[in-house]
């Protein structure tokens, strides 16, 4: 992702010009969860700092799959507005999960094992790209890449039928998106972006109501920005046309 080509970058809606890349996008400028690391317990500090300093190397994806998977992750959660020093590693964590076979505790009936699901899914994405644009997914511009992925999101990919016969497309889509957001929003840079206070033991939180910041948190300072014009992912639409997902992934037991 080079800085020269501004295709697919988010824009300032007033001027229509691409946003500048920032170390720290989001509405909480100056807020750094990592500045609080000395106040965290040792076990937590270790695990969070490793996400910045000790990124797992690639062991599962083949070089070709890695190239494609990286491009896919860059559209599932685009980071064009982040400068190169502050991009959040995503594919490495999915690779690690698949390499060590770290499961989520269940597999839907009719789904292959996760490793197989990713291999098949990438094949399906490649076939849709070829069908729609007669090019490799990785060679498409960002908006066309989104067009390809949107067909999966809609549950209606126009190619790769053999793949989707073996694996329901919406199941793969949800698996992929949940893995990508699981890696991105685990990162302290992402916490800075959304104003999440991060680890809070042993110190705790004391301002519980009315959205008040702790003394070490920042107030929100909003600015206007818009997704790149024409971006299919900027519009919300239900996965495969339905919000009633049979067996949506579930979370760390919300209650």
């Amino acid at each position: 992702m080079s800085g020269a080509n501004h295709d697919g970058w988010p824009v300032d809606p007033k001027t229509g010009k691409p946003l500048e890349q920032l170390a720290h996008p989001g509405y909480y400028p100056g807020f750094r969860t990592l500045s609080q690391k000395d106040f965290w317990d040792e076990a937590t500090r270790k695990i969070v700092l490793a996400r910045v300093d000790d990124i797992p190397s690639i062991r599962f994806f083949s070089p070709e799959d890695l190239e494609l998977m990286t491009a896919v992750c860059n559209r599932i959660l685009p980071q064009d507005d982040r400068d190169d020093l502050h991009k959040i590693p995503v594919v490495n964590y999915i690779d690690e999960r698949l390499y060590v076979n770290r499961l989520d505790g269940y597999r839907f009936e009719g789904m292959p094992p996760d490793q197989e699901a990713y291999r098949l899914g990438l094949q399906g994405i490649a076939e849709v790209a070829r069908y729609l644009f007669s090019r490799r997914f990785v060679d498409l511009n960002p908006l066309d890449q989104e067009v390809v992925l949107k067909t999966l999101h809609d549950g209606n990919p126009p190619a790769g039928h053999e793949v989707w016969r073996r694996m329901p497309v919406e199941r793969f889509w949800l698996l992929l998106v949940q893995d990508v957001v699981g890696a991105y929003y685990a990162h302290p840079y992402a916490w800075d972006e959304i104003g999440f206070g991060g680890p809070a033991y042993p110190r705790g939180y004391m301002r519980l109501e009315n959205g008040e910041p702790e003394p070490w948190e920042e107030n929100e300072r909003r600015y206007q920005w818009a997704a790149p014009p024409g971006s299919p992912s900027a519009e919300f639409s239900p996965v495969a046309g339905s919000t009633e997902h049979k067996g949506s992934p579930g979370q760390g037991g919300t209650h």
Binding site: A43, Y106, F108, H153, P199, S233, G252, T254
Partner: protein, 577 residues
């Protein structure tokens, strides 16, 4: 301020920590494998932890075999969402049916403390009506016990946990709580505002298994919001910190990383102990006079089915054919609302306010039974995954929406789904890494369930709107698991009797959420722990005689008030009882 007041925080050396202050002395007692202990407990979770403590305190020799680790909370747990992965049962299971359940982090614990390590900590009681929904509403099945049978154990466990909540709780059998309520966080305020506007009664600050005041070696809550990632503070109860230490002090043993693969049957037709695989996958066995299976709603049926042997070809304790059947999850639709002002829902425990105003059957609604509405406060990863489904968010839409994380609040439905024969646990063709067949879970919603969810979901959305949300969306999901080895009086229709003894084998017991015949709209944790205390009293009252012949379950069970962990009596809000 560049450095913390007391220096960088590191766990104290040579101490096994259970919370910020409490620690235990190890090594613990180690029984010999060929020594016949009184009780072998399979799974030291919500029920197993309470049983282990009580049986040890009553003087029995007890070994608890736990598939997961014996946590040191300072070293093993983190204040971090992704890093808490190990708290859950993440081994393979197959999930299917028309409405497949998400498992793993959604509802399944692993390690000492089990589900009580990652529960949000809501501890409502079941209502008296829950024990007779067949008689009362013509649906499901009646329990073999009544509310009066479990009430003394609710009262005991509420003190032992101890539960924080209002001095007067108006729903079901009205009662109060030993510790005062908690302050509100953003989602609690939303629930109160919405309910109050609609004239719906609401309970604030509990009931939750989270300390609003310090208790012995356990500090009060610090409102850091990571309850379901394991409470490092030790303010939220898990049996790991409330009961297990006392059990070990009284000579119980917990063998961690030991996955029981089968229950062994002796020549006399009674169980003789269990076979298990240790952390290196090496097979070993433990002899015991009685085996109590406490593996929760999926692993308990799986173990019983995997223990099939000559004379019990369909699995142990399965002459009725109901092992694994009548599995239940609660409807847990999460309703998310965006507010113009900031909420910052990551602060304060996710569980801190609820209403049971819709709990009982209302014929006007057109379905049987009801639901509760509770606060939930998803952390960023969970929130993003909810939005992936609720709004179909991805790409730039997801990035933009997540930048508004602090503007969103969440409350949720907790609705009763009825017990159905076709919702069940069976053995899959797939095997785990030890070669043991894994569980296959089938789940289908039925007509009453669908109507209840539709009505309940809309009611929760109405509350969210009334609270002032400018946008309201919802994600359909399920919470908790119970059933799969249900208790009953009829051996042809149930797996265990009203004390948890299997109908088929006199020294084989089941004690965990799987014995529940129905589930109400109450989070099951308190009921599971209370049933465990009741089963313990029964086992103690039997004193060995119970293991040699089938005795008719006694109608009057002597309640032992002297088996609580120390520091329980005389604490909290004074009660006459």
């Amino acid at each position: 301020m560049k450095t913390p007041l007391f220096g960088a925080f590191e766990p104290p050396e040579h101490k096994h920590m259970l919370g910020a202050i409490q620690h235990i002395d190890l090594p613990m007692r180690r029984y010999k494998n060929d020594e016949q202990v009184d009780f072998c407990i399979v799974g030291v979770g919500s029920a197993g932890g309470v049983l282990l403590q009580r049986l040890a305190r009553a003087g029995f020799s007890v070994v608890g075999l736990e598939a997961g680790p014996f946590w040191d909370t300072e070293r093993d747990w983190v204040s971090d969402e992704a890093g808490s992965y190990n708290l859950y049962w993440n081994e393979l299971r197959i999930t299917g049916g028309q409405d497949p359940l998400a498992l793993g982090a959604n509802n399944s614990g692993r390690g000492v403390g089990g589900g009580s390590v990652h529960w949000a900590g809501f501890t409502p009681r079941l209502h008296p009506s829950d024990f007779r929904i067949h008689s009362g509403d013509g649906v499901g099945v009646d329990w073999p016990i009544s509310y009066a049978d479990i009430k003394p154990y609710y009262e005991l466990l509420e003190k032992e946990i101890p539960v924080s909540g209002p001095a007067y709780y108006p729903w079901g059998d009205p009662h109060g709580y030993p510790y005062g309520p908690h302050p509100m966080g953003g989602c609690g305020d939303i629930l109160i505002k919405g309910c109050t506007k609609l004239g719906i009664g609401v309970s604030i600050g509990g009931p939750v298994a989270i300390l609003a005041g310090s208790h012995g070696d356990r500090p009060h809550c610090i409102y850091r919001g990571f309850c379901i990632q394991g409470c490092k503070v030790g303010a939220k109860q898990s049996t790991l910190i409330s009961h297990v230490p006392d059990g070990l002090k009284h000579g119980a043993e917990i063998r961690e990383h030991c996955m029981v693969s089968r229950i062994n049957l002796g020549k006399n037709g009674r169980v003789s102990g269990v076979t298990y695989l240790d952390r290196n996958g090496i097979e070993d066995a433990q002899k015991a006079k009685a085996v109590i299976v406490c593996g929760y709603a999926i692993e308990t049926p799986r173990l019983l089915l995997n223990s099939a042997c000559p004379g019990h070809e369909n699995g142990l304790a399965n002459s009725s054919g109901t092992v694994g059947h009548y599995l239940m999850a609660q409807a847990g639709n999460v309703v998310l609302g965006r507010f113009e002002e900031l909420v910052r829902m990551y602060k304060a425990p996710p569980a801190h306010a609820l209403t049971e105003e819709f709990y009982e059957t209302d014929p006007k609604r057109g379905f049987a039974r009801g639901f509760a509405v509770q606060t939930v406060s998803p952390l960023p990863i969970s929130f993003a995954r909810q939005m992936m489904v609720a709004k179909g968010a991805w790409g730039w839409g997801m990035r933009q929406l997540m930048m508004d994380y602090n503007h969103w609040g969440a409350i949720a439905l907790l609705g009763e789904i009825l017990p159905w024969d076709d919702n069940r646990v069976e053995l899959a063709t797939e095997k785990d890494r030890n070669g043991i067949p894994v569980a296959k879970v089938t789940f289908n919603l039925h007509d009453n369930d669908k109507k209840l969810i539709e009505f309940g979901k809309n009611k929760v959305m109405e509350i969210m709107q009334a609270a002032g949300a400018e946008e309201v969306v919802q994600e359909a999901r399920y919470a908790h698991l119970v059933g799969g080895a249900r208790m009953g009086n009829d051996p042809r229709q149930s797996v265990v009797d009203k004390f948890g003894r299997s109908h088929d084998i006199p020294n084989l017991f089941v004690c965990d959420g799987s014995v529940m015949p129905t589930q109400g709209s109450a989070n099951p944790g308190l009921t599971i722990q209370s049933l465990a205390a009741r089963t313990a009293d029964y086992l103690i009252s039997q004193r060995g005689a119970g293991f040699t012949k089938l005795t008719p379950a006694e109608s009057q069970l002597p309640i032992r008030y002297d088996l609580s962990p120390p520091g329980t009596r005389g604490k909290g809000v004074p009660r006459l009882a």
